[in-house]
Structure formats: structure tokens, C-alpha cells
């Protein structure tokens, strides 16, 4: 068993699911002949043909809407946004049509909408977005955002098999930078379960996506330099959120920081804070602190992007403050 990249894990999940179930098909811009802007769908066209790997016009609302219609008829569409930033064009379709379909009409809408997300890549304000907070607020959707190759594969399989719509965000910084041996066989990671990425006893870092790796780096450094034992919880699923795992780590360490790459105000960390506050208030020995991007559109020049996005040094600084509280 060889190591595979995060990107290859996604490709494998698509491949295997399309082999497994003939109702699974892909649609999106330049996913066929070209294999996708990042080559995530490379080889799918050759294997599955034009009927199941559909190059569409530049029409994100129609891509999502058509996926929904096909899903009603029993298909399992996987729609690609060339960059996840363009999901904004499909915001109405997703929040109003797709998310409410089962509830208002009893009509299942098992679609997956996936695409390259996130920053640290000098992509500028329109090729670096983290759209999770905009959808966290929509009952009827599910949201996953894996950090590892295994989870990338297992969560995509779970998303495709899920009977409800799932937004699957893949972090483009991790595409080729993260590698591991992925479990053999039909590896499925259930939606809604967090992953304990590192055990610790002094404080908890609750995070997801690319920031998991920064949190792990920070934990390492804090252990070496400060002798602190830091627990890192990788949420993986944001909707539904694994309250049990969040509460467990907070009750264990009594101190938590929440880290995400997305901007601060209105970001996912607020929701996590509220849940901890409601369910583990008496266990808190210090305020919950957030490490996030600054509240600005993400600029492109390296010194600006580096300053705006959360870095390992930021996590270390805040963790020290928290430990000393």
C-alpha cells in the first residue's frame, strides 16, 4: 500500500464510487477532457464516458440546479465548482431549492457539491475562499471539510452515499502537500464525527481543514518549548457538528482555542463558542479564544496573505496566553 496525496484520495473516491454505483456522475466546468483545473477528475472521462463526466457551460446555478433535478430522479450527482469561490453564484439554488427540498416537498436531493477551497496559495480574494460559514446557517445542508488524505477519501464516499445534499470542501493547499497511506478497501468516514488528531491534557485546539496542520505544528512546538500537552480536535464535519467530541475535549482540558482560516466575524468559531458555552460552561477555566483570519477580503501579495491568515506562530502565542490564564 502506497501513500497517496489528498488530491489522489479525492480522485480515487470519485473513481470507486462511479464504479460502484452507475447513478453516480460528475458535472462541472472543464472536468472532462481537461480533467479539472487541478486534475482532480483526471481519467474519469476516459473510464466513464461523456454521459457520466459532463463538461458544462459556465453556469454554477445551473450546475447545482441540474444536479438537484437529476438527484430527484435517483441519480447521485457530484458537481464541481472550478474554484469554490464560484459557489456564490449558486447560493440561491443551494440555500433555497436544494436545502429545503426534503423538508418542504419530501423530495430527496442527494447531491454533492465539491471544489477547491482555501488560501495560503497566493490566490487572492476570489480563488482562496472558505465558504463554510455562509452555509452553516442553512438547515438541510451538510458540510464536510477534510484535513487528511484518508478523510478526503472517506468523507467523499460518505457524501456521495448520503441521502441529503453535502457540501464537500477540499483544501487546495493540501492537495499535493499532504500524503498518507489510506486504509484499504471501501473506506468510508461517517459524516458528523470529529477526529482526535492529537491527544493532550492541558488545552484543546478545535479546528478543521488546513489549520489542523498548523495546530499540530503548534502543539509540537508548545510541547517542546513549554512542556504543554495540547489536544487537537479535527472537526472534519461542520454540519452536523460533533458536539460530543467538542464537549469531551473541553471538559477534559478546561481550556480551548478555536482556529479557522476563515475570517473572524460570523465565522464558524462563533457557533462552536456558543455550543461550548451552553454545554460546558462550568468546565471552562479560561475564555474560549479564537485564532482566525482578520476581517478583510484575502489579499494576494505574500506578506499580506501571510499576515491576514492564521499562522502557527499565532496559535502558539494564543495557546500560551490561554495556558497562563
Amino acid at each position: 500500500m502506497a501513500e497517496i496525496t489528498y488530491l489522489e484520495a479525492i480522485r480515487q473516491a470519485l473513481f470507486e464510487e462511479m464504479e460502484r454505483d452507475e447513478n453516480v456522475f460528475c458535472l462541472g466546468e472543464d472536468i472532462g477532457v481537461y480533467g479539472g483545473a487541478f486534475k482532480v477528475t483526471d481519467g474519469l472521462l476516459a473510464r466513464f464516458g461523456e454521459q457520466r463526466v459532463i463538461d458544462t457551460p459556465i453556469s454554477e446555478a445551473a450546475i447545482v440546479g441540474a444536479a438537484a433535478g437529476a438527484a430527484h430522479m435517483g441519480m447521485r450527482p457530484v458537481a464541481e465548482m472550478q474554484f469554490i469561490d464560484f459557489i456564490s453564484v449558486a447560493y440561491d439554488m443551494l440555500t433555497n431549492y436544494v436545502a429545503t427540498s426534503r423538508y418542504r416537498a419530501g423530495l430527496p436531493c442527494p447531491i454533492v457539491v465539491r471544489g477547491p477551497s482555501g488560501g495560503y496559495v497566493r490566490g487572492g480574494p476570489f480563488h482562496s475562499q472558505n465558504p463554510e460559514a455562509a452555509f452553516l446557517h442553512t438547515p438541510g445542508l451538510k458540510i464536510v471539510y477534510p484535513a487528511t488524505a484518508s478523510d478526503a477519501k472517506g468523507l467523499l464516499k460518505a457524501a456521495i452515499r448520503d441521502d441529503d445534499p453535502v457540501l464537500y470542501f477540499e483544501h487546495k493547499f493540501l492537495y499535493r502537500r499532504v500524503k498518507e497511506v489510506v486504509p484499504d478497501g471501501d473506506h468510508v468516514v461517517p459524516i458528523g464525527e470529529a477526529r482526535l488528531a492529537r491527544e493532550g491534557t492541558d488545552l484543546s485546539i478545535i479546528t478543521y481543514a488546513a489549520c489542523v496542520w498548523k495546530a499540530l505544528e503548534a502543539a509540537e512546538q508548545l510541547e517542546k518549548e513549554d512542556g504543554l500537552s495540547v489536544e487537537v480536535l479535527d472537526l472534519r464535519s461542520l454540519l452536523p457538528m460533533d458536539d460530543a467530541a467538542i464537549i469531551a475535549t473541553v471538559r477534559k482540558t478546561n481550556r480551548a482555542l478555536i482556529v479557522h482560516e476563515d475570517t473572524r466575524t460570523g465565522g464558524v468559531a462563533g457557533e462552536i463558542t456558543a455550543r461550548i458555552n451552553e454545554q460546558a460552561f462550568e468546565w471552562l477555566d479560561a475564555p474560549l479564544l479564537r485564532v482566525t483570519a482578520a476581517d478583510v477580503p484575502l489579499p494576494y501579495s505574500p506578506p499580506l496573505e501571510d499576515y491576514v491568515l492564521p499562522q502557527t506562530a499565532d496559535i502558539v502565542a494564543v495557546a500560551r496566553r490561554l495556558a497562563a490564564y
Binding site: 457520466r52 459532463i54 450546475i63 440546479g65 438537484a68 431549492y97 426534503r102 438547515p139 441521502d163
Partner: protein
């Protein structure tokens, strides 16, 4: 000046050819309808109108929750076009707010409509959605949402799946004149066109979008021209002539079934009532409504045709009117008797799993159910 092709004339030729391909042939499909079919068309138009009239009564008695939307004077276009689908083959349509008639053709029952409007617990959406916003895949109709245009991409996807699976089924989607300006209409019809989906797009041109006349909606005077931007045939027909509507739709449906792709049909009609019951239509030029009412009522026109051309005895039509009245009376009684939904049903069915959202802990004190005690006892701690 043009390099890759030969200028304006070619395009016009293409457009004309496309139109001719879909233009009604000598033998009108409606010629094959037979007497029963023709009378059935009358039944559905009458049922539409009478059911809406009943709804007006209920609305005035404040038994309707929310607004009331009429299709008075537009019954022919909805009924005639829907009738062109083949329910036996699994064709599917998606109606808009003025297409009650199309749903009735697909088998929607008056009692369902009444329950929807009265927000009853046993309405098709269990009180979640308003008026005619509901669907039933088994009977071949998908419920609309309010956001105009959104059903076009959805029906593109429905029909894409027909194509992918080699099923010889057809989809039909309605939009209003106003909805042609929406983002979703454009993206959806273009995707369907380029994928040659078996889809018929009916643009119901009733002259207004709420208070906005066509001339403020678009600079084209005929909406069939919207088809030219998508490389598909655009047909225009008299939406107040139920047989003409049936004919053009039937041809487009068969074209789609043959695998020749999307057709756009503009059905010209007129909205004789306001956008909804509350709208007093002060923006409508004087006399316009009366003119359409007196000279171009689709039911009056069709009755004349049935009596004169088809020699249907008047008594047969009044018997239908009678039957429709009975049906609606019974449905009204049934719908009125039904209870409103149970509050906690609101938590059910957002996801397949879990089957219901957990009640917010403090709601327990309001609905007195043992199942909620546990949650309440937990204290302010379960989110």
C-alpha cells in the same frame, strides 16, 4: 467583416429553419384527440376556474392562510400544454403559480389544493409550503419554489437524467414573462439546450409581472425570440386557444422525445386578476381587462368551439359543470374538517438522518409531552 461565418443572413436562415422544424404540421395533433379528449380538456379548464372561485370565497372568509393567486383567463394555456404530456410514459412537469390547471391534468386533487391553501396538517406539504407549491413524482409534477426561474435548471437536471438513462420521457417547465429575466432561467435553459435535454419550456406571456408590463421587462416584443440566444426553436401560439396550445406543445414534446432537444414555446395570454388577490391592478390601462374578458375568455371560446364545431350538446357541458361543483363541494368539506398540523411536526424531515431535529430544550415547557421532560430536566445545556 465576418470571418468565421457568412453574416446576418446565415443566422436568420438557421433561426427560420429551426422554427419551421417545430412549426405545426398540416395535421394538427389535436385532430387525434377525439371527442372524449376534447371534453376532458373542458373539464380541466372548468375545474381550474371553479376551484379558484371557491378559493376566493374561502379567502374572503379568511380561511385561506396567505395570499391567493388566480389564473383567471389563463386556464387554457396550462391545461392544453400539460395535456400534451404522456403520463403513461412518465413525463414530468413543473408548474408556476398560474398553472394550477396543469397540476390538475397530472392528477392533483382539489382537496389537496384546498388543504394547501388552508395550511392543514394533512396537506401534501403538511402545512409547510403555501398554495400550489407541492409536487408528486409518481403523478409527474414537481413543486415549485418561490424564487422565479429556479425550476428551469432543476428540470434541466430531471430531463438530463432521462437522457443519460436512455428513457424516452419528457419534461416541461413553466415560466412567466417576468421570469425570463432571471439568472436561473438563462443558465438552466442554456445548459438544457447545449445538452439537448428532452425539455419543453413554456413561457406564459400574460402581459405582466406583478405590476411590470412586458415592455419594462425586456426589449423584445415577442418572448419566443429568447430562444434564438440558445440555438433552439422558439414558437409562439395563442395561449387562450386550448387546442392551439395543445398542438404546439404536443409537437415540442414529441420533438424532445425523439431526442431533438429543447423547444421554447411562448403562449400569449392575459392575467385578468391582480398578481394576488390583494392587488387592485390600478396600473392596468382602462378597458384592457374587460376587453380580454369579453372577447377572449378561453373557456367561452372553447365552449363555442365544442358546441359549434364538435356539436357537443350543451347539456353535456352543464353536466360537467355540475360534477365539478360537487367535487369541489365535497373537497371543501373534507379540507375544512381537517385539523392544522401538530407544532412538533415542524421538526421532522429536514434530513433523512436524523429523522427529526431535537426540540429546543425550552420549548418543552410549552407543549406538554412526556418525551420532552427529559430534555427540560437537562437544564440549560443542550443547545
Amino acid at each position: 467583416m465576418a470571418t468565421r461565418a457568412g453574416g446576418a443572413r446565415d443566422t436568420q436562415r438557421t433561426a427560420r429553419a429551426a422554427r419551421q422544424a417545430a412549426a405545426p404540421a398540416e395535421g394538427r395533433p389535436s385532430a387525434l384527440l377525439g371527442r372524449d379528449g376534447k371534453v376532458e380538456l373542458y373539464y380541466y379548464m372548468r375545474l381550474t376556474r371553479s376551484l379558484e372561485e371557491r378559493l376566493v370565497n374561502l379567502y374572503r372568509q379568511t380561511k385561506v392562510v396567505g395570499g391567493l393567486f388566480r389564473s383567471l383567463g389563463q386556464e387554457a394555456d396550462a391545461v392544453g400544454s400539460a395535456y400534451a404530456l404522456d403520463r403513461g410514459k412518465g413525463d414530468i412537469l413543473s408548474p408556476l403559480i398560474r398553472n394550477l390547471g396543469s397540476m390538475l391534468v397530472q392528477g392533483a386533487r382539489p382537496v389537496e389544493i384546498l388543504r394547501q391553501y388552508m395550511a392543514k396538517g394533512d396537506s401534501p406539504t403538511r402545512g409547510r409550503e403555501l398554495n400550489i407549491h407541492y409536487g408528486d413524482l409518481a403523478r409527474g409534477f414537481i413543486g415549485q419554489i418561490s424564487h422565479l426561474g429556479d425550476m428551469v435548471p432543476v428540470m434541466a437536471g430531471v430531463t438530463l437524467s432521462f437522457k443519460m438513462r436512455g428513457e424516452r420521457r419528457v419534461g416541461l417547465v413553466y415560466v412567466g414573462d417576468g421570469a425570463t429575466s432571471t439568472a436561473a432561467f438563462h443558465e438552466g435553459i442554456n445548459l438544457a439546450a447545449v445538452q439537448r435535454c428532452p425539455l419543453v419550456v413554456i413561457v406564459e406571456n400574460n402581459g405582466y409581472a406583478y405590476s411590470t408590463p412586458l415592455a419594462r421587462q425586456t426589449a423584445v416584443s415577442e418572448l419566443r425570440d429568447k430562444a434564438l440566444a440558445y440555438g433552439i426553436p422558439g414558437i409562439r401560439a395563442d395561449g387562450n386557444d386550448v387546442l392551439a396550445t395543445y398542438d404546439v406543445t404536443k409537437q415540442a414534446v414529441e420533438r424532445a422525445r425523439r431526442g431533438d432537444g429543447v423547444t421554447l414555446i411562448e403562449l400569449v395570454t392575459y392575467r385578468r386578476k391582480g398578481h394576488a388577490e390583494h392587488d387592485n391592478q390600478s396600473y392596468v390601462p382602462e378597458g384592457e381587462i374587460e376587453r380580454w374578458e369579453t372577447t377572449n375568455d378561453p373557456i367561452d371560446r372553447y365552449v363555442r368551439e365544442l358546441l359549434e364545431a364538435d356539436r357537443v350538446p350543451p347539456g353535456e357541458l352543464s353536466a360537467i359543470d355540475e360534477r365539478v361543483r360537487d367535487e369541489i363541494d365535497r373537497a371543501t368539506a373534507e379540507a375544512e374538517a381537517a385539523p392544522l398540523p401538530e407544532p412538533e411536526d415542524s421538526l421532522v424531515g429536514v434530513y433523512s438522518d436524523p429523522p427529526a431535529m431535537e426540540a429546543l430544550w425550552y420549548k418543552a415547557s410549552m407543549v406538554d409531552r412526556p418525551a420532552r421532560e427529559r430534555a427540560a430536566a437537562r437544564g440549560g445545556s443542550d443547545g
